[in-house]
Subunit: 196 residues, 2 copies
DNA sequence: CGCGACGTTGATTTGCCTCAACGATTGTGG
DNA sequence: CCACAATCGTTGAGGCAAATCAACGTCGCG
């Protein structure tokens, strides 16, 4: 079980690679271990990576002028994390990316991604399918955030991400579903009471 | 100025096509004119198109059990519209797509898209970049919907879409920015008063 | 002409936030 | 290993943004 097995599986579900192609792909990735609570990206910086998570847990969030944070997404082993806007246009980022656990990453920087797409154009398809899935997920999430109540958003979050939820604090979940931590606490109390 | 010029321009900003490739591309598209207030897709149907809008205005929306509608997106000439989830997985849709004006479309159905990607793999890149842009837009929109007030969302909608906004009714805009039509009206009055 | 969407306005309600305070747990440096 | 700080979850009081409900005028369209 070496560090590329997870990412190779992920790629293999979309496109087939020869042995040499796989080696080239691996050579373009940088392996990195980071401690929990490390900033991978801060507002104002240019995001120079798309990171595949081999192990760990990461959050992406915005921070408004008065310091309030809203979580855009969580990512765990098997998924990718980046600020697409900043990465693709090489412009300053509006968000932060932070590890929530000790993590192990495979990083693809801008030059490496360009070279990868150039040398193995089939990766265009891989990234297209990845983006398509992300877009579908975000559409669903947007709809939930405007059409559902806070309690519906919370219970469907627990339903949809049963393995992720236990790894997060209540505060992080609250910032993701769009309520204050205090209100989430009150909701939980209410839901518990109702079950007895 | 024939019906393919807009779509050819859109494609040309991402990938270069030979004359034969362009002809093949055109042959896979179906041209269709539809009257205003036509349903292109209803909840429960399988979406079998990605539509490029040559002329017109279209909205995509969800409809909950009690009949309340929330607009996911608007699309006008030069952009694409589809239910990606339903189209890509060929599963029943959760949304509706409706023309708001008489429109002229170029439709790519599932088989045609598959064939297009098969015969001209460079289109993988085109669709990847299209998806990337949509994802970035939706991320920004999601952030606005949770972090900004209704008035901020309204004014930035007017700012961002100066050509689109005048073509929509207040009710449609309200359903897009996530407020009730009544409240939008009150906001507008308040904003007007403040200017005097 | 008359019907149905649309925009407006007011009265009332409510979902969720803010602020403040407090234990419990976790982490950290001496 | 202990003391202290920091973070986290909880609870209560009070407030506000926005929803809901109801009523009414206007306009475009069949």
């Amino acid at each position: 079980m070496h560090m590329f097995s997870t990412i190779d599986d992920a790629v293999a579900t979309c496109i087939a690679l020869s042995a040499e192609e796989r080696l080239l792909f691996h050579s373009l990735l940088k392996h990195r271990r980071v401690r929990k609570r490390t900033w991978l990206l801060q507002e104002g910086e240019i995001c120079n990576f798309e990171a595949f998570i081999v192990k760990g847990c990461i959050r992406v969030f915005y921070c408004d002028e008065d310091g309030a944070e809203t979580n855009l997404s969580f990512a765990i082993e098997g998924s990718w994390v980046s600020d697409l806007q900043s990465f693709s246009a090489q412009t300053p980022s509006l968000m932060f990316i932070e590890t929530l656990e000790d993590s192990e990453l495979l990083l693809l920087d801008y030059r490496a991604k360009t070279e990868l797409l150039d040398r193995i154009p089939r990766f265009e398809r891989f990234f297209r399918l990845l983006l398509q899935q992300s877009l579908i997920t975000l559409q669903t999430r947007w709809h939930a955030s405007v059409a559902h109540t806070a309690e519906q958003r919370y219970t469907s979050f627990l339903d949809r991400y049963p393995t992720l939820a236990p790894r997060l604090t209540q505060t992080q979940i609250a910032r993701f579903i769009g309520v204050s931590p205090e209100f989430l606490s009150k909701m939980r109390r209410g839901m518990y009471r109702r079950m007895n």
